[in-house]
């Protein structure tokens, strides 16, 4: 009787790429709920629009590349990129900003490099950086103010749709404004910390309710809850062992340390609490920087990679021209990831020390093996 020949191992744990991607998508749900609660429908609409665009682009390019379409669409990776972009883009960004960002990330950042697993740069962040550089006005003026700052709560769903799709002028006027990070940074030029924190973004009703409206109150415009929601989702992924603790930990530690060291004077610099709990910090730490394809992959390398992102976020936020810095920080460290990997190999069982760096020249290797 003839049998089939298959190489070992024959058992498999049952994990799959699409399951991992799906879990990451699900873990963004608390954050999305918080975003929608505080800032209205904008992000949800963006996410849906981004998802449609991403799946269409992915299918088209798979067809052009003559790859099985459903096999790759099922891996949920395009959907994840779309969700992350939908979350990251400003809620009132015109529809074409989202479409450009998503299609660029799918076609150029992902498939031109060979598709899933082969892209050196985080596709979502490539798309984000492209629209941030290309359309700075749309990318900086379309942030929503939290519901408690306007009398009519958040912009209604139909109005949000018309803001996004027909750029109806004036509709979103009462509902958009600068983010807390941006506000603090600019006000710090001529106001003291105490004065800034008296501003509406920093001593809101919500904040007053939690800490009595004192001057030490740092809660900022709803963003802290968005960040906490993403932190919860991220911790869930950590518990499910989707990624290891290394990158989020070192990223947050580096960002926190930098902002404490340099930002000791809250009159001049954004305080560390704002760095950690506003903007895209938690989203970046748990959902963007942990993209395994483009991150460093050794345990030590992950620590370096995360710390690099944390430091770059602080540097760009503090001295750069952009309101937030996660995209650029992640992309810059994407460049460095292969190098980091080369020099951070762990020590293998039975070896006295880790082999690091590039392989030596063949001749040298010969000599080494002869000596050995």
């Amino acid at each position: 009787m003839a049998f089939v020949n298959i190489t070992s191992p024959h058992a498999h744990g049952g994990n799959s790429t699409s399951r991992i991607m799906l879990l990451v998508i699900l873990a963004t749900v608390p954050g999305i709920i918080a975003l929608t609660y505080f800032f209205g429908w904008g992000n949800l609409i963006n996410i849906v629009l981004a998802a449609i665009t991403a799946l269409t682009c992915e299918a088209l390019i798979l067809k052009i590349r003559k790859r099985p379409i459903s096999f790759f669409l099922k891996d949920n990776s395009a959907l994840l990129t779309a969700v992350l972009l939908g979350i990251a883009l400003p809620p009132f960004a015109p529809w074409w900003v989202t479409v450009v960002a998503v299609s660029f990330s799918m076609v150029f950042a992902k498939h031109l490099y060979g598709g899933l697993g082969n892209n050196p740069f985080n596709p979502a962040m490539v798309g984000y950086a492209l629209v941030l550089i290309s359309f700075p006005v749309q990318m900086t003026t379309n942030w929503a103010t939290p519901f408690f700052l306007s009398a009519e709560q958040t912009l209604s769903f139909p109005d949000t749709l018309s803001v996004i799709f027909s750029s109806t002028p004036g509709l979103s006027d009462g509902f958009s404004g600068a983010t807390p990070l941006d506000t603090y940074k600019h006000l710090a030029n001529n106001e003291t910390s105490l004065e800034i924190l008296q501003g509406p973004l920093f001593s809101s009703d919500v904040a007053n309710a939690t800490s009595g409206g004192s001057a030490s109150n740092w809660f900022a415009g709803g963003w802290e809850f968005v960040n906490i929601a993403f932190l919860i989702g991220g911790l869930a992924l950590l518990a499910l062992r989707i990624f290891t603790w290394h990158i989020p930990f070192s990223l947050l530690a580096a960002l926190g340390t930098c902002s404490m060291l340099f930002g000791w004077d809250a009159d001049l610099y954004v305080p560390w609490s704002l760095h950690i709990f506003t903007g895209a910090t938690m989203l970046g730490a748990f959902f963007i920087a942990t993209d395994p394809v483009t991150a460093s992959t050794t345990p030590l390398g992950k620590l370096i990679y995360g710390a690099g992102i944390g430091i770059l976020i602080f540097v760009i936020r503090t001295w750069g021209a952009y309101p937030d810095a996660v995209a650029f920080a992640v992309l810059l460290m994407n460049f460095a990831a292969p190098l980091i990997d080369t020099y951070t190999q762990p020590r293998t069982y039975g070896h006295t020390k880790a082999k690091r760096g590039m392989p030596s020249k063949p001749d040298a290797a010969d000599n080494a093996s002869k000596e050995g």
């Binding site: 790429t17 762990p346 006295t352």
Partner: protein, 688 residues
């Protein structure tokens, strides 16, 4: 009881154990099969040498193949019968390689060899016996490691001069499904413990740790009872270790029990440890205390495709088919197949073929047919259903998630090794210690992309091995080639030197001859025949001062081109010889390239020679000619012309017949004069 601090190894996985299925019934003995297929190479090392002939009757326990060399093991007849054939057959091995097998037709009498049957081979007081006697007995009985690799036990026990601190008995049995060691310990703990005593004595180890995973409580209890019963001293301890795959890997078990790591490239003995499988211990006991060679073993037969999963005591060489039939193997058929039935032969695609695994689901290999025999190291036959162990899905792209890094017990970076193996960057794979991969399969097990990682590593390891061999071969031939080249060059240089000496001598002679001829002509001119003399004089002068128009520069260019061509050809030949040829086609053309080298070398030599000659015969190095020389020549020429003119006038007056000849000579001399004047002018010009 000594207390032991357990350590842990990095990584590892917890696959479904699936061990309970095969531990429900006691170890069964198998009815005798009609035929046994006994390979003579079942162990690591040289295959044994067959010492029986076709047609011989053999008895149970009779030596049929003796060890050849130090690392080898004896093979015995597992039952009585007749040698039906000695031939090459496929072996149960992942590569499907072939080896010599002794085929025995069993006679059903199962008759022991007299010496063994009457107990004359037994060493009763084995704990008092000489170590050499014991090691020899273990060797004679063909005991090899029964955990998997099959390393000859006698070789491992010959640890003279090495201080062994700890003897580790591997009873972890970490692979899912396999329960052979578990059942052996439950039922034969005493024999195993006595075997351990023998190994303790042989290794002179200070203590012995028996590592058993905590999923085998019955076995642990049995071993502890046996320990109390058999062993008075307290140097042996049964240690319960946490269940985690691959804790039964030799290196991992050592780390768990001692916290030590076997150094890279070394063996456990380097750190004072010897490791033995618990099944081997039992075999050692039977060999020493009863004189029985290793002719049977306990094998687990399990999986959803067999009706009665169980452990069987099976003779070495029993065809897998026989074992499968005993346990009630039924070939699984999918609904689709059932529907198609025998309608189409094409329906029997590879997917529909059953899968039989020798060994466990993590490190076992599939058998290509059920005619293959059970070996001394075959601990399990696994016949899973499709649903139970589905064949891998199509692999999707690696997303470098790093789950494999977390699972790797050797602290490697499997995801990096995968990229390097896939892209053929073998130097980087080596740099990332691919050689330290134990192929446990933990990485593939956790891979969400279902990439058959271990297969990539095996392939890369094979490539590296091949490359090493090729490189060694090419460096040897490179040395040989260079030596030959040196010799040829030396010979050519010697030949050239001789040739130059000869040429120089010849030219000297030639010059002397010319000088003599010139003198003679001069004399002739003086003595009466002036016209002839003048003519020949003129000719000689012309020949001497006007070099034949050899274009040195052109020759040099040709030489350079030829040398470049030669170097190119030589490089090509060297490249081919060192195995760096770009394709096989080039390698095939080695002879052509070598011929080209020879031709080009000849050409270079020829050109070099020509240049040397040209330089010698026409040293028109301007600096060496002084103005005085030319003036001297000019004056001499004018003198000659004057003389010739006088003769010419004289001849005119006399109406001599030599007039035309003199006229011709005069013309030539005049021409020469103009040339010399031109030379002088040029010289002046260049000089200023």
């Amino acid at each position: 009881m000594q207390t032991i601090t357990l350590h842990s190894f990095d990584g590892g996985i917890h696959p479904q154990e699936n061990k309970h299925q095969s531990t429900q019934t006691p170890i069964a003995s198998l009815p005798l099969p009609a035929q046994l297929i006994v390979p003579v190479g079942q162990h690591i090392g040289a295959p044994a040498e067959v010492i029986v002939a076709v047609g011989d009757r053999v008895l149970k326990g009779q030596l049929i193949a003796q060890p050849k060399g130090f690392v080898s093991a004896a093979i015995h007849a597992p039952t009585s019968g007749k040698v039906a054939a000695i031939e090459q057959r496929e072996l149960p091995h992942s590569s499907g390689l072939q080896g010599t097998c002794v085929i025995i037709d069993t006679d059903g009498q199962d008759q022991w060899l007299e010496d063994i049957a009457n107990g004359s081979q037994a060493i009763a007081d084995y704990l008092e016996a000489d170590n050499d006697v014991l090691v020899n007995r273990i060797r004679d009985c063909g005991i090899t490691g029964m955990g998997g690799a099959g390393f000859p036990t006698a070789v491992k026990m010959a640890v003279k001069g090495r201080h062994i601190e700890t003897l580790i008995i591997n009873a972890a049995e970490c692979e899912p499904y396999i329960t052979a060691d578990d059942m052996l310990m439950r039922e034969r703990a005493e024999e195993a413990m006595r075997g351990i005593q023998i190994l303790m004595k042989l290794t002179a180890a200070e203590n012995c740790l028996i590592g058993i995973e905590d999923n085998k409580p019955e076995a642990i209890k049995a071993m502890e009872d046996a320990l109390h019963k058999v062993h008075g001293e307290h140097h042996i301890a049964v240690i319960t270790i946490p269940t985690k795959y691959p804790s039964g890997g030799e290196k991992q078990l050592i780390e768990i029990l001692t916290g030590k790591e076997v150094p890279n490239g070394g063996i456990p003995a380097d750190i004072g440890i010897v490791c033995q499988n618990v099944g081997t211990c039992e075999a050692v006991y039977h060999a020493v205390a009863e004189g029985k060679p290793l002719i049977s073993r306990i094998t687990t037969i399990t999986g959803e495709s067999v009706a009665q999963p169980q452990n069987v005591d099976v003779l070495i060489g029993t065809p897998v088919k026989h074992v499968l039939a005993f346990a009630g193997f039924k070939q699984e058929k999918s609904l689709f197949q059932k529907f198609l039935g025998s309608l189409s032969a094409k329906a029997q695609s590879s997917d529909s073929k059953p899968r039989i695994i020798m060994g466990g689901p993590m490190m076992g290999f599939t058998l290509s047919s059920d005619e293959l025999p059970i070996l001394k190291s075959s601990n399990c036959i696994l016949a899973p259903s499709q649903q139970e162990l589905p064949a891998n899905d199509v692999a999707s792209a690696c997303i470098r998630c790093g789950l494999c890094t977390e699972a790797c017990p050797a602290d490697l970076l499997p995801q990096q090794l995968y990229w390097f193996s896939k892209s053929g960057e073998l130097d980087k794979a080596e740099q990332h210690n691919i050689a330290d991969c134990i192929e446990c399969g933990a990485c593939s097990y956790v891979c969400p992309s279902q990439i058959p990682l271990v297969q990539y590593y095996r392939h890369a390891k094979g490539e590296i091995k091949e490359e090493r061999a090729a490189h060694e071969k090419s460096s040897r031939s490179k040395v040989r080639f260079e030596a030959r080249q040196d010799r040829l060059d030396r010979e050519a240089a010697e030949k050239e030197a001789k040739r130059q000496a000869r040429t120089a001598a010849a030219e000297k002679a030639q010059a002397a001859k010319k000088l003599a001829a010139a003198k003679a002509a001069e004399e002739a001119a003086k003595n009466g025949d002036p016209a002839d003399g003048a003519a020949s004089n003129a000719e000689t002068g012309a020949a001497a001062s006007v070099p034949e128009p050899v274009d040195l520069e052109k020759l040099q260019t040709q030489l350079d081109a030829a040398q470049a061509g030669l170097k190119k050809s030589m490089d090509k030949v060297a490249a081919i010889k060192s195995g760096e040829a770009e394709n096989e086609k080039e390698a095939d053309n080695l002879a052509v390239f070598e011929k080209a080298v020879a031709t080009r070398r000849d050409k270079v030599k020829l050109l070099a020679l020509q240049i040397a000659e040209a330089k010698k015969s026409a040293p028109p190095v301007k600096k060496e000619i002084s103005r005085d020389d030319i003036e001297k020549k000019l004056r001499a020429q004018q003198d000659r012309i004057d003389k010739t003119k006088q003769r010419f006038e004289l001849a005119q007056e006399q109406g001599s017949e030599t007039l035309p000849a003199l006229q011709k000579g005069l013309d030539k001399q005049m021409q020469k004069l103009t040339e010399l004047e031109a030379d002088l002018a040029q010289f002046d010009k260049a000089g200023v």
